[in-house]
């Protein structure tokens, strides 16, 4: 494998009971590359994402991150390695505020006598600065994220990824349930993230939406990889054609 690959998965298989959710899937994600993971329902896209997140462990196969073999026993391991999720529309807890979400699972603490106390001041300051750096001009870290727009929440996830020097963003159906305008924003975000040197895997149903930004398509069908196509070689219609034939 080459050094430019951020992620390489080899021969991943996973079954749940009698259901073979994934069999023998291999692909790579290069540095600053956006990979579109596409396929119909039940194709195994979510299983791949969950394996990369450490939610499940593969039955067979290996995952390499920046050339090193990795094993994720839990989402904590995966995040510590540098994989950051942006879940369907959001990976934030609605009722919590900006800084609590931003640092969820990686809280900054200081010692206060025998106790370890949240360093709220630091977390508020840093989370706001990071949001500004991405271009979202929030002012209050105490604001509950349920009052933020879809785009702002996605920025939160991206900012979080950058703050913790994540290298690979998993966008699981980032445009589901978004308006056209918001979808456009999300795709622009995805592009700007690539410009910052991060890699991304985007799971989406809508090929037309993601075609302009994706570098490579990995097409899934019934748990298998059907094709891996560079965008330069195919048109959006070709990709859709391949999917429809399955």
């Amino acid at each position: 494998m080459t050094q430019e690959n951020v992620l390489e998965v080899r021969n991943l298989s996973k079954s749940f009971g009698a259901v073979q959710a994934l069999s023998n899937v291999s692909f790579t994600v290069g540095k600053s590359e956006i990979v579109g993971l596409v396929g119909d329902n039940g194709a195994g896209k979510s299983t791949i994402i969950n394996l990369l997140m450490g939610v499940y462990q593969p039955d067979e196969g290996e995952i390499y991150f920046e050339g090193k073999r990795v094993k994720f026993d839990s989402p904590r391991d995966s995040r510590a390695t540098g994989i950051e999720p942006v879940y369907q529309n959001t990976a934030v807890v609605d009722m919590m505020n900006l800084w609590r979400n931003f640092y969820l699972g990686r809280e900054v603490t200081k010692s206060f006598g025998p106790f370890s106390v949240l360093d709220k001041k630091e977390m508020k300051k840093k989370s706001i600065e990071m949001m500004w750096e991405i271009g979202v001009h929030v002012r209050e870290a105490d604001e509950s994220v349920q009052y933020m727009s879809g785009g702002e929440r996605q920025s939160l996830c991206i900012g979080r990824c950058m703050e913790f020097s994540g290298k690979l963003l998993l966008l699981d159906e980032p445009t589901a349930a978004l308006s056209l305008k918001e979808t456009d924003k999300v795709l622009k975000f995805a592009e700007s993230v690539r410009e910052k040197g991060l890699s991304e895997i985007i799971v989406d149903h809508n090929i037309i939406h993601i075609y302009p930004i994706v570098d490579k398509f990995v097409i899934m069908g019934r748990g298998r990889k059907v094709a891996e196509l560079r965008k330069t070689d195919v048109s959006a219609e070709d990709v859709i054609g391949t999917l429809m034939k399955l």
């Binding site: 839990s74 995040r79 009722m95 609590r100 699972g105 600065e129 500004w132």
Partner: protein, 333 residues
Amino acid sequence: MEPGANPPQVILKRYSLNKLITRPEVGVTIGLIVVWSMFYILSPKFLWPANIGSICTVAAEMGIIAVGMAFLQISGETDLSVGSVYVFVPTIMIQSAQAFRLPVFIGFLIAMAFAVLVGFINGTITLRFKLPSFIVTLSTMMLLSGLLLAITSGFITQVSGENLWFTILAQRFGDFRISVVWMLLIVLFFHFMLSSTTYGNWVFATGGNETIARKMGINTLRVKMTNFMVCSMLAGFAGCISTARVYSVNPSVGFDLMFDAMASGIIGGCLLSGGRGSIIGTLLGVLLLSSVNSGLILAGASPYWYRAFVGAIILVVVIINLIVIGRRGKVSK
């Protein structure tokens, strides 16, 4: 402005009316002011130290249960068995001390271990079998209270003779009892845990959206399990304080307290579905209910009105809370 622009001034803390009224404690604070003024007008004795002392005594025991329950509820689960634990645990404390001729304090430790075990069982069954905690704890509530009635034949368990541990738990000083200090310490500790520690952040996240919390690397099962045990332990502790006050355990008093503790949390801004709530709010809810209790008596009303009053208060305060949340544009689910 361009991406990368520096924030002109990061606002770390801003006090504004708009922000103040979106806090979970708003409804209950309004309720408390209204109820206190009303009872003071009906009977000025309401604010006499003796009466405040008796309100605090009731609030101490109810409050300790309610804090545990609120903590568990914020993480998205509930515990109906607290009332049964509240009477079962002190019975174990007294019976084991008397049967084995142990100091009451040792009996207390045994009883508290039992309380933790009940929480552990509630948690294990709920989490392992993915059952609603409502159903699981409904059955442990009945199991425990039935078992206790069978063991004691429904008789009140009496304590004979003074002992130091009971003095530490509930000694009277003038109009007040030391139990109120226990309650305040517990309130402060859990308020601190919830608002200022990593664990508190996980509790909110677990109740707010368990799927996302888990994917962010939080062991939500451990959070819930811990809270089940904390809740049960505090309910048992409250029962021991009550026993230290009256030197007996009545096996049939737990049910009402369970409802009162749950109502206090709801009045204090805790969402039954989890993710939102406040320990301070819960304390205010407890004060509200115990004030109503004593206020009605002072006003010459029949104490039977208490339930009806509490029912009305829950509705009014919850509606205030909804309006408060709604003011920010969206109502949380």
